[in-house]
Homo-oligomer: 165 residues x 2
């Protein structure tokens, strides 16, 4: 089976954070796929990720529970779509575990598909975090919620954590 | 990677047609995955399927255009989620090609995930066609639109076609 992926970004619908970081692909992969690691970097401080479940296969669960500084819990449950070890993780909140369609928990975004694309670059990693949306309004809502800054800070935290491993 | 699938049917949310048919798994698979064959059986007569596109990999397109007896066209575009040759095909209309979330073309159903599960049985095939829904209302709408009768007649047409191949 053809294991390449066609990523067709649309500037009106999609968001992307792209950076080269100085930890190798295997460590970026571990940080994204091991719940105990995800909980340590996923949410920019002072937010916390207090729970995480990952069943690393197509149709498997990808879920987090975030805790706001004022103590509110924000559960997110998604479905893993594509797994290529050390290279690519794809999931969506438009489906739940077992591929069942679900209503989005953030109706202003209206569902998104996340892709983490990882490539070796020198001794580090070219890292792309992509969010695909249905509509321009969904992309804009996600941008307004701080996609680029938030995912960028989270990536800084991921790098700091994995450098120590 | 674990290639098993967990199918958790929920009687309130899901629909299933299960039958044993006297064509082998390889022929059922061909009928579901080759556009020129799909067009010959997919829609119960006098409806027709006038176009079909299948890019057989996770994230690939699964699309049909149906033509009603009075000449109206009904395009459906979905995304393939899981492919296990001769055994399992999973797709959804909650995502489009490349895993992008999309609005359902049939809002009364509200998006569904289809699974064709194929197992050898004797010289034939145990065939399960499953539709997973978000809500009870979506399941009911799909049932009222004739899921069981429609998919059953389509299966009869599939079997008749593939017996001749």
């Amino acid at each position: 089976m053809d294991r390449r992926i066609d990523v067709h970004l649309d500037a009106k619908l999609d968001l992307m954070l792209e950076r080269v970081v100085d930890v190798p692909p295997e460590k970026v992969w571990a940080a994204w796929t091991q719940p105990e690691l995800v909980k340590q970097w996923f949410t920019p401080t002072p937010w916390k990720t207090i729970d995480c479940a990952i069943d690393l296969k197509p149709g498997g669960e990808f879920s987090t529970v975030m805790l706001s500084p004022d103590g509110q819990q924000f559960p997110n449950q998604g479905c893993i779509l594509d797994v290529v070890e050390n290279r690519r993780l794809v999931w969506t909140d438009a489906l739940g575990p077992g591929f069942r369609p679900v209503d989005s928990k953030t109706p202003q975004i209206g569902g998104f598909t996340g892709m983490i694309l990882i490539e070796p670059e020198g001794t580090g990693t070219r890292y792309r975090a992509i969010a695909l949306h249905k509509h321009e309004a969904g992309r804009q809502a996600h941008a307004d919620m701080g996609f680029e800054v938030g995912w960028g800070i989270a990536l800084d935290e991921l790098v700091a954590l994995m450098r120590s491993k």
